[in-house]
Symmetry: C2
Subunit: 313 residues, 2 copies
Amino acid sequence: MKLMLVGYGNVGKAFRKLLHEKKVKELENVKIAGIVTTRGLMLKDQEAFVPDKKINALEALDEVQPDVVVDMASANYKTGEPSLSLYLTALKRGIHVITTNKAPLALKYKEIINTAISHGSKIFFQATVMSGTPSINLYRILPAMKVRKIRGILNGTTNYILTRMSQGLSFNEALKEAQELGYAERDPTLDINGFDAAGKITILSNVYFSRGISINEVKFEGIGNIEIGDALKRGNKIKLIAYADENETYVKPMEITKEDFLYNVDGVNNALEIESDIQKITIVGPGAGPLNAAYGAFSDLILLLRGENLPGL
Amino acid sequence: MKLMLVGYGNVGKAFRKLLHEKKVKELENVKIAGIVTTRGLMLKDQEAFVPDKKINALEALDEVQPDVVVDMASANYKTGEPSLSLYLTALKRGIHVITTNKAPLALKYKEIINTAISHGSKIFFQATVMSGTPSINLYRILPAMKVRKIRGILNGTTNYILTRMSQGLSFNEALKEAQELGYAERDPTLDINGFDAAGKITILSNVYFSRGISINEVKFEGIGNIEIGDALKRGNKIKLIAYADENETYVKPMEITKEDFLYNVDGVNNALEIESDIQKITIVGPGAGPLNAAYGAFSDLILLLRGENLPGL
């Protein structure tokens, strides 16, 4: 079983480390046959990246002939490329895809899944939502539920900022601190304006409600001009809530009371609440971090090797 | 695929209903071939129980020749019988077992699992801990974690009583209310004294740490003489906490601060926190109820039909 890794930043390195350190019977015949970055393709499995060929991921697919592509490259929300074409090409050839990159799925979910189904290949993407905390994979162990609605805190950056604001910091102070701690990027626009959370709830809507929607159909609002003083006075908090049911999907800041379970989900923690015909359950855990994202992809790989199906099928 | 149901109270009835109402492709060739209670064996699949033969579950095994036994009978913590012998006999014959009854597993986990392994049969038991909220099955989607410790609120009755006490009721008032609402049994001893939670953390210790222990090795303390006034004055709550790591397993009432995620787990909700080398995650959901327990067994059945392994293997 040959893997080709795409992207080799902190997540890619952490994934490679998990693969070498975790002694799991499923991994016995698994090896990294190639690592691709924008600098080219390396055909060795070594920690230091030294490209052997100056080719791109799509060309590397021919060269490496992997069984599974693991995409840990950064997201391009305009077009989903080059990952989108890579997935479609791989899936058409019967190559499975595991990804931590939510852009292609947030943009073209239906096309990607249908390509996988019609070619008997699989795409697993736990790490695109809540990183290594099971959000998508949770669905696998909750069969035949009739899901009524899902609701969550899906962006760690904004939750950290809102948490620190509720402790007295201004928006700018909280953002600066989040950047210093590595919780926010230099350009935090897509976190702050709700776009990142919108991408995640788009994917969850597609898994939990088979809606087949794209992020372009999702209304989102961020926390750029947020005022939390009045909520605080009422003993409440503001949280950036992502919501979906069978008919609608949105992201917006909402006032959350003490009695609400999401009230206590602070800092970079994320949470997802699933309300079904059976029960309401909530899962909470870190929503970001290189090791966490790598573990999301790693757990997908193990489930793939165990013969699991596409999530939601 | 022939099922034999053991026990036909509220849980058994809810399970039968799920089986008939949920249209899942895995269930296409599944049918109920027999239902056994203390009153005998019914060979029809109908809602009203009318025994055809006055025989017990072990004798019914010969009569029905099922592929899967689903035990939803009530627990006997003294010996685990008659369920324990039923499981061992069934597993030795290659018959799979799904159970909501924690007594046999809390008493004889190692013997049961080893019997299953050596005969190539399976025993699934999600509903024994947190009912339909994935606690044991959660482990399936978190492969290769190095679990450091687990901690939870695993008994709904005591959590309800403690919640109502923190709202001003006396222990006796809260217990009476819990009984009126059906959250506590007429004889609530095994809930109140921590024994029920001890049985559950025993099972989780065996799944998450492969400890191979019995409930008799677990220290437990209940809430019978609980005083919560001082904790309340400090802005804290008392919760009945079940804890396990590689070396110890216990149940005792503990003071929980506002910052602790378990602080907000109130009423009949249960929660499980899992701390591993990767991350700390928490799952929260109802810990009891006929439909919930039935769904725990139902989800086990679907996972079994999908070819899943024993949990923890």
